[in-house]
Symmetry: C2
Subunit: 669 residues, 2 copies
């Protein structure tokens, strides 16, 4: 039904692309070899066909979706196990198949086994003693047991200290008693917890000798290893249908006085001795590590989601024709409408911008981790502040980008076969998990206010906030310079100006008698805005600097396009933030007019390379999984082919006609 | 499981509300009697229990969802039929039960019978001759037949002239031959088309005597009335799963030379005589009527969706407690965080603002329709321009409002049992249907550019664009006045400034040799922005004026709150559009500081009435259908109760354990 040839409009786009698409793909992957490795991995993982569903999962019931997710996850792990043995491949290959676009294409709408690898095993490694690691990690790696990680409760999320689950030490039996004192103490959300995992790491308030020592990690067996029945005192089940990720089997968990051996507490850091004596951890800041690692990885995920969405929407926009602005001419490709270019090009540029920032953050993370191991914690707060605001801004930008792409495909973007709704479901979830975005921005704001005060006190500042110094010192802005560098400098002025205004506002409110906490709260809308401005300045400058460097290493044709994308990204954000630039820099009305013209000119220049730019993301059809976005551009044929897979289309008359519709029409219902 | 008492935090909120909630409810409904009628209607419609699902539909398969939707729709129509007979109620009551929040609460995620009433019958009434009406409308009203309306095609949406389906007259048999020449000519999207309707109004290109006369409406029988089997030459089925509205049974439809009698063409306006002679319609502008009516209704729907979302999020925010900003104090309600108030209060105000605009547009629609019937078309273009931009801005604001509310509920907003994801699915669809939003904004822009040119030519302007006169005449802005009235005036200056800039830009581009169409396209991003600015100015001024009027008719307590909401709405938008105000008015940095302080102050003043304000929307629990938002505030108990309804929770061990998980763990898969 779907023709075996490339749509003519798409072919024409590809023929006129001004740069070498493969060169850009290699650049994105990090080199020719990396591209080859990725392609080999994809080929290997996809040839098994685990990703192919007899009936697309969107037509299944909630329960069937879970059953399909288990089947796929188990087959995938079986395959990985085989590959490990055959090829003697390391953990890296393992994670590469599981993570990113490839894993999610095979696993569909989330997997119930993900937390086993992403949280259960890493926590055992990070927080278990050597003996505990010896005991548990082998079993977990072999999949003799399947675990998950339970922290969030029905009534408690981001504020970890508020968690209610207790683990009370009983020295008479040398056991901990896990208990959920209230309904709101029930664990709620962990993936795989509902019907999949038989073990779980549980975060609970540790009580011993009549004193509470805060959150600690405990291993709890949930289900019998043979029968999978929940053990006595364990109340476990699933939390119900969600906007997305309906394959993840998110669960709830309540304890009714469940006893576990003393050595089921993970004791690499803090300990409880046999008599119940609590021994403190050497440093509590180490726990930051995992959280920050996950946030760094998240920024990369966001690039993958945006790349998918913008590939789908751009290819479809080259195929779709609509309206007739000029009489007697054919309907243009919708990609020729400047409003459509406005929706798509920023998406393409955003993928590159955030990819650059993710790499940069990853390097910083590695440096700081190395320093940490040498006992140097100096840059930890800076890294923490950066990871918070980048988490918030990247997830929020990605969600908007995916939704903009979906809407840009008109009605067909609303079809699940476009794969845009499912992608949105995954990306918008990231705005909430791993730290709710408003909370994240306020964490960064707290750091920025402190940095401002340090600067005011004459202290030196860490690199990423050193720009505050000029403004704190009351130095006048240099005249606004309407170039990319000038705009980036302008964004730093905006960030500094907003942070300064917040500090002044808080102080002013304190002078009227408000306590600091209330003054902070009253100023918090402005604080989130300052935090975002800081983040935007960093994204713009990181992206600009990195592409300046890369442009010298690639062909002149590619360098031109890369620079155009940076320009587009910077000018787009300048136009979005005109109010801020007007307030905090000397930008003029003439500058603004120029920016607008510059922006429209960039859209025109990038237009012929739009398809080449998304082709360079090199997302295979099996991974893109979209009727609208497939490489061959046969969007209409594929939409129809996908529709025909609906079980409703397997019979000409549905039974409900006889049961309800006909009786209604004949007045006999 | 859910306690039979009001959550203490919610009760406290209600006790401290400063105004009479019922008074506001009556004002919203349009009077005490209207509230009573609505409540009676709700009671009557809900007591049948059609809205109650044994298993919530979110757990069903796609096919089961359709079957449930048919069951519900048929039972609802049976009930309505009975009520009509019992109470002798008119059409109005009928539509009231079907439409708005009540209908969608009963019908769930869209209904396959909606288009029968919303499009099939109205089109017969509007475009059929008296004879055709006599023949068809009775059968349709009695539900002897079920119809739908097919216009959009797989390859063609907003641009109606591009539709491909043909209806060719054959004078030898006095029949029309309907045909789909290509795959892209297939009708695609109509609700109920897939497996439900047995008749359909089809829009097709009329060909007679070798000439094409453009789009006309034809009645086509799709399925046998007894067996429901598709008739020969009819290719019909469903288009597949979607982001939302999975009960609507959207279908595709292809014709292979299907013949219908000549009098199946709706001939109230244009006609084809027996010999094939085409007789033109008296006026083609009449067709605008229905489209505009639907867009006016849409603005009202948006208010309903926003009211639901903000009720859910506000009540939950009063119940949810999180974090500990002050040591030794309990965790505050999240409604006490100013960032949370920032997300919710604008939602509450938006409901009132758009409700006011919907009423105003409705009055204007009625006036213009009356004038039209008297042959006066003068205000038609103005109404059309208004309905376009209000459609775009209201649906886009509503989608953002619902999504903001969902995100403000953290992880629990991601649960389908919150009802926020489903609401988003419905509201975001409206950004695309009935005219894609970017296209809508550009339609309004075309009118605004013309109005500008009229003003420049010294012609008088219709009321809603008369503000252009001052700016066209080059009169200087008066100094910015930082009051509500001053801000509203500022928004008009912004709109005029942006329209003027677009006109100048287009002219400048034309002078460089670009044709008008290309100059328009290059300027189209700015044109959409100008169109939105025009719409914002109208919304702000309409809302402000109407509340000024209403405030004199209500108690002083209520008047205070109503005015605070207007102030909040206006100041919020001023802060959102600071860049525009800086460019086009003389607003100062001092004004901006004042606005920010004013905004924060308004949030503080409105905070104690937040719950009262959403209570006043008076949305019954059955209609709200949300575990998070129920009137009693027992959010956690309801979340758990909803989770327990999941079929996965009906058995402790899922079969997939034995089939896949256990074999995997034992190395035997």
């Amino acid at each position: 039904m779907v023709p075996n040839k490339i749509n003519a409009d798409l072919q024409k786009e590809r023929d006129s692309c001004s740069f070498n698409v493969t060169e850009l793909t290699n650049l994105i992957d990090g080199g020719i070899e990396k591209t080859a490795e990725r392609k080999k991995r994809e080929e290997m993982a996809l040839k098994e066909g685990i990703h192919i569903d007899e009936v697309p999962s969107v037509y299944l019931s909630h329960k069937e979706k879970y059953e399909l997710a288990i089947k796929k996850a188990c087959l995938l792990f079986k395959m990985i196990r085989r590959l490990q043995e055959e090829e003697n491949a390391g953990m890296e290959n393992y994670m590469a198949v599981l993570g990113g676009n490839l894993g999610s294409a095979i696993l569909g709408d989330g997997s119930p086994l993900t937390l086993h690898y992403v949280m259960f095993i890493p926590t055992l490694m990070g927080q278990g003693t050597v003996e505990q690691q010896a005991h548990w990690i082998g079993r977990a790696f072999n999949l003799d047991i399947i675990g998950t990680y339970a922290q969030t409760e029905l009534g408690h999320g981001t504020f970890v200290r508020g968690l209610e689950t207790t683990a009370t030490y009983d020295p008479s039996t040398k056991e901990f008693i896990l208990h959920s004192p209230t309904l709101t103490a029930y664990k709620w959300w962990p993936g795989g917890l509902a019907h999949t995992a038989n073990y779980c790491i549980v975060m609970a308030q540790l009580h011993t000798k009549g004193k509470c020592h805060g959150m600690h990690a405990f291993i709890v067996q949930l289900r019998d290893e043979e029968t999978h029945m929940p053990l006595p005192g364990i109340k476990v089940g699933e939390i119900g249908a969600k906007l997305g990720m309906n394959g993840t089997n998110n669960g709830f968990l309540g304890f009714d006085q469940v006893r576990i051996p003393r050595d089921y507490m993970l004791m690499k850091n803090a300990k409880v001795l046999e008599d119940g004596t609590y021994v403190t951890a050497p440093s509590s800041k180490l726990a930051y590590g995992t959280m920050m690692f996950v946030r760094v990885m998240l920024v990369n995920d966001m690039c993958n989601y945006m790349a998918k969405a913008v590939t789908i929407a751009t290819r479809y926009s080259a195929v779709r024709r609509q309206s007739q602005p000029k009489p007697n001419e054919p309907e243009p490709q919708i990609l020729d409408y400047v409003t459509q270019q406005h929706k798509l090009m920023i998406g393409i540029a955003s993928v590159h911008a955030f990819r650059t920032c993710a790499d940069w953050l990853w390097q910083m993370y590695n440096n700081v981790t190395a320093e940490l191991e040498a006992g140097d914690m100096e840059r930890l707060p800076e890294l923490h502040a950066l990871s918070c605001c980048l988490k918030a801004v990247s997830t929020s930008d990605a969600a908007q980008c995916v939704e903009r792409c979906r809407l840009s495909c008109g009605g067909h973007g609303y079809m699940l076969s476009s794969n845009l709704p499912l992608t949105y479901g995954l990306v918008t979830a990231a705005c909430t998990y791993e730290g709710e975005n408003t909370v994240m921005l306020l964490q960064t704001a707290r750091y920025l206010v402190k940095a401002w005060q340090q600067a005011a006190g004459g202290q030196t500042l860490p690199p990423t906030v050193s720009y505050l110094r000029e403004v704190v010192a009351g130095r006048r802005s240099p005249p606004f310079d309407n170039t990319i560098e000038g705009i980036v400098a302008g964004f730093y002025r905006v960030a500094a100006g907003k942070i300064g205004a917040c500090v002044a506002q808080i102080e002013k409110r304190q002078k009227t008698g408000m306590c600091y906490e209330d003054a902070w709260n009253m100023t918090s809308v402005q604080l989130t805005s300052a935090s975002e401005a800081h983040c935007r300045a960093i994204i713009l400058s990181t992206y600009y600097k990195e592409i300046e460097r890369q442009s010298n290493l690639v062909s002149p044709e590619l360098a031109t396009v890369l620079r155009q994308l940076v320009d587009l990204y910077v000018v787009y954000w300048a136009l979005q933030c005109i109010g801020d630039l007007l307030r905090f820099t000397s930008i003029s009305e003439r500058d603004i007019d120029q920016l607008q013209g510059w922006y429209e000119d960039l859209l025109t220049r990038l237009r012929p390379n739009a398809v080449g730019l998304v082709d360079a993301f090199d997302i295979r059809d099996e991974i893109l999984n979209s009727a609208l976005g497939a490489y061959d551009g046969n969007a209409y044929e594929r939409l129809m082919a996908e529709a025909m897979k609906s079980p409703l289309n397997k019979e000409p008359v549905n039974q409900s006609f006889h049961q309800y519709l006909k009786p209604l029409m004949q007045g006999k219902l």
